[in-house]
Symmetry: C2
Subunit: 174 residues, 2 copies
């Protein structure tokens, strides 16, 4: 049950650290005059676990704008380990929506594990593991006082091949 552990790891090692201070980072950023459409961290969860390094690769209507001020913490011997989040502008027809977004990094691990024979699970289990990751993470975050209302999980169906603007549509419509 790899996905169960990865969901807990994502919470304990990342979301629990970053979400409580996200609003502060956004206020520091907004003081430069820019405004976000949402102050929640939008976490993208592609069902097929295919995680691009940049969302522009998925949909040209999702464009990097700039990074928030970074968070630096001493963690496990690494001094001033840096945690960064990126702001994107999403356009659809005439609307523009700006927010902090990223893919759920542990899905990258699920994908690569399914490609390594020695890791013990294959492509067939991968979708099940993504769903288990999503359900476990949802439950953890709902019960977390520090994280409540500071995030949005967006599960992305992979049955939309041919629609080059599926991602931006999903982000804006939901």
């Amino acid at each position: 049950n790899v996905a169960h552990g990865l969901a807990w790891s994502f919470y304990i090692g990342y979301l629990k650290l970053v979400l409580p201070v996200l609003q502060n980072k956004i206020s520091q950023y907004s003081s430069t005059g820019a405004r976000l459409s949402s102050s929640r961290l939008l976490i993208l969860l592609p069902l097929n676990a295919v995680v691009p390094s940049k969302p522009e690769e998925e949909d040209t209507n999702v464009v990097f704008h700039e990074n928030l001020p970074e968070l630096e913490l001493d963690v496990a011997g690494v001094r001033q380990r840096s945690y960064k989040n990126s702001i994107y502008k999403i356009t659809q027809d005439n609307k523009t929506f700006s927010c902090v977004l990223e893919y759920a990094t542990p899905l990258r691990t699920l994908y690569q594990m399914s490609q390594e024979r020695s890791a013990g699970f294959g492509e067939r289990e991968r979708k099940q593991q993504v769903l288990l990751f999503y359900r476990t993470l949802s439950q953890i975050l709902e019960d977390s006082l520090e994280c409540r209302n500071r995030y949005r999980l967006l599960l992305l169906n992979d049955e939309h091949t041919g629609d080059p603007h599926h991602l931006s549509r999903e982000i804006i419509q939901n």
Copy 2:
């Protein structure tokens, strides 16, 4: 089998990215005149999964020196995500040993999961999970061409209470 997934995550999301370029980072650093006793990343694995934020908290003979130049990559929508490693000077009697070291961060997740009832495992399984993490990670790294000879795993016994310099001794003697 949480530890199995965490070992793969540590490899896929971190060691596979950082270890192949570590020698470059060390050469950039050494050009400032300083020399390291070892160019391998020393990864500390405490059996009890207790991971301090700074090794000085464990042993005052392990002292932070400075960070290596950081590695920046676009990962899963986070632009220029930063990967840093810290150089420590370890002293024992008259010897000084300097190297890049850190604790295996996923052990922090194992520890905190064992404290959360809803995570599904307790203190008794924790030591077993640390050993499974160590065995799985050793196997993955031995089979990895990109990582071979660029790391050293140091399993730390927790039965040394009373010896304030157990950590430095373990690092230098091994």
